[in-house]
Symmetry: C2
Subunit: 375 residues, 2 copies
């Protein structure tokens, strides 16, 4: 063999071994199987009797993403903060948790073609992570999820030809592009019914706030509470990064809201939490003197008892102190009312909530929110 042939041979052998290694890795075979199944699945989408509509049309409302202008990406944060915030926050801000596309139609069915992501996780399914939920008049009516390439193609049958409010809940943990939205050819589109005529509730927090590990985009606790109360919401949960960043506080101060919920005890250390709370609330108060702020102390979690106790005390002490110094619009809720030891089967991995946990959480938080807002 010549030297060149020998080199090619060695490179090839390495590649062979690598290919073999890949195949031996469990998961690759099933990934291929899934891929094939999904390709077959997605090829079945029929659109002959449908017409395409644009989510950026006047008749559509994109709720929960206050900075998205016509034609722009469905991101949570505005371009204006990009250079100021930590890069990871910008990445997480591309995940449109809490984003909803709302409209009204008398179409008997709708179809969606979109691109999100195909990544998987131990505690999240791909429906919540990268998929979509459809609610009709606030009743859950189905979901779509991506294939191995991140492609979503699905037609939903809605049951009748009456005019109805459609809400498409965007993925909680993956950026998404809606390529096409279809309704039936002779159907009409109209503006959706208004939500309750008060400003949205803003939730700031961690992965739990963002929605991990609900089973569905419509099952984060802010989404559940919004359907129950009719009040719009903005989800500023930043997975592993709810650290009290002052630039996020400043941004929150610029958004019209009826209540600001601070649920970010999970990510910072006790020290960081204690240090950041006064600054974070201070930055909001510079812009919003009278908007109620609700601080949530830690939920129950399996383990982490000491940290939970410390952070609970920090939250309660902080709110008491602000009240004493004249802030009459600040409140505190014991997170263990949202998830207690007795309801700990609402945890998926000892820390994150599952759909049941979000339901428990919404029950306690909804009561507190109504108490505050009714005042």
């Amino acid at each position: 063999m010549s030297f060149a042939v020998r080199v090619v041979f060695i490179i090839s052998l390495t590649a062979n071994l690598f290919a073999l290694l890949m195949l031996c890795q469990n998961g690759v075979f099933s990934a291929i199987k899934r891929s094939v199944r999904n390709i077959i699945h997605t090829k079945t989408l029929q659109t002959d009797d449908l017409r395409s509509v644009s989510i950026y049309d006047d008749k559509f409302i994109i709720s929960g993403l206050p900075f998205v202008a016509r034609g722009e990406d469905l991101y949570r944060l505005p371009e204006s903060v990009r250079s100021r915030i930590r890069p990871i926050l910008w990445e997480l801000g591309k995940q449109p948790s809490g984003g909803r596309i709302r409209f009204k139609t008398d179409s008997n069915s709708i179809a969606i073609i979109a691109k999100s992501s195909s990544s998987v996780s131990y505690h999240m399914n791909s429906i919540m992570k990268s998929g979509l939920d459809i609610y009709v008049d606030d009743i859950y009516t189905g979901s779509a999820w991506p294939d191995i390439n991140g492609d979503i193609k699905k037609r939903f049958y809605l049951g009748d030809k009456k005019l109805k409010n459609i809400t498409i809940y965007l993925p909680l943990y993956s950026p998404i592009k809606i390529h096409k939205l279809y309704i039936e050819k002779h159907a009409t589109v109209a503006r959706p019914d208004d939500l309750k005529l008060i400003s949205p509730i803003i939730y700031y927090g961690s992965s739990i706030t963002q929605g991990a590990s609900a089973s569905n985009p419509g099952l984060s606790y802010p989404a559940i509470i919004s359907r129950r109360t009719g009040i719009d919401f903005i989800n500023f949960g930043f997975s592993a990064n709810g650290l009290g960043d002052i630039d996020i506080a400043k941004l929150i101060g610029t958004i019209d809201s009826s209540l600001i919920v601070l649920d970010y005890w999970a990510n910072p250390t006790s020290g960081q939490y204690k240090k950041s709370l006064p600054d974070f609330v201070g930055a909001i108060r510079k812009k919003k003197q009278n908007i109620p702020i609700l601080v949530i102390s830690p939920f129950y979690s399996a383990g982490l008892q000491k940290q939970r106790r410390e952070k609970r005390e920090i939250a309660f002490d902080f709110v008491a102190k602000r009240k004493r110094s004249g802030d009459s619009h600040i409140y505190v809720l014991d997170g263990e009312n949202m998830l207690s030891r007795e309801n700990s089967s609402g945890l998926v991995d000892g820390i994150h909530l599952n759909s049941l946990g979000f339901w428990f959480g919404a029950n306690a938080l909804e009561a507190k929110i109504l108490e505050i807002i009714d005042q």
Copy 2:
């Protein structure tokens, strides 16, 4: 180049292309990343201060798997039916849904090394599919899940050194081998406290009964009801294969039970359901004349209205007919009491229940079960 070198070269080139193709498939990169992360994670398991105990020891009870003898695989069906039943039922029977390992210990921590599977799914996370839940005195205390190779290695800290009941819930959708179970070196093991002293409830049904798509092994509706009532249970839910197989009915007739729940409306067509119900119940009744049988009609699902109506009628008519012909131990529950349109956010994909849906389902079914068993 010689002919042989050329052949090797071509084979190698193909392998190279294949390796490249593999890499280009989305998901593979993340699978590798996950794998690396998991290897790091699983390597941290410390067992120096632990001692190994055997789940087949006298002090351990393996609940929910009535046919598992000492040292045998944790399967749901006995070897004796293997040749008679459809092969897919045998495969599904290897998935130990409802299986629990129960014991008592004063150890402050336990550790588990096990092998399950690494496959993923659009509507299931790997915790429920292939992982384990640990409950301490019926309180959820954490979960373990497999890495990309299906390996589970995890230590659980239980909070104190009191004697407490440990329940390990086995995976709902994957066979598992428990290689090692550890407790602390100087800790003791004892028999677990008895469950309520009545025979277990047997649930026969589809994927929904088996537990898809709860977030956790402990969150199928039979598991929730068992924790609430203290009554043991056996889960004979066979994903996509709850078709009224007569051999399963005969098997159920051989198991000591206090109630048999038939929740298998989801998989058969209306015709198959109508035809199989009398035979299935007849085969049970040959062995168990007086054990209460509860037939559940369809849950709510997005779509499938006609089939649901038909099957509801079949279930109700069948029970009424058996009552008229003298069977005073048969009952029916409207599945829409377990999951209604109003509670349809308890569905993950329009058909299967999420953890919230199982909770809703358990609420209605528990009430009905207590009503029947108290009679």
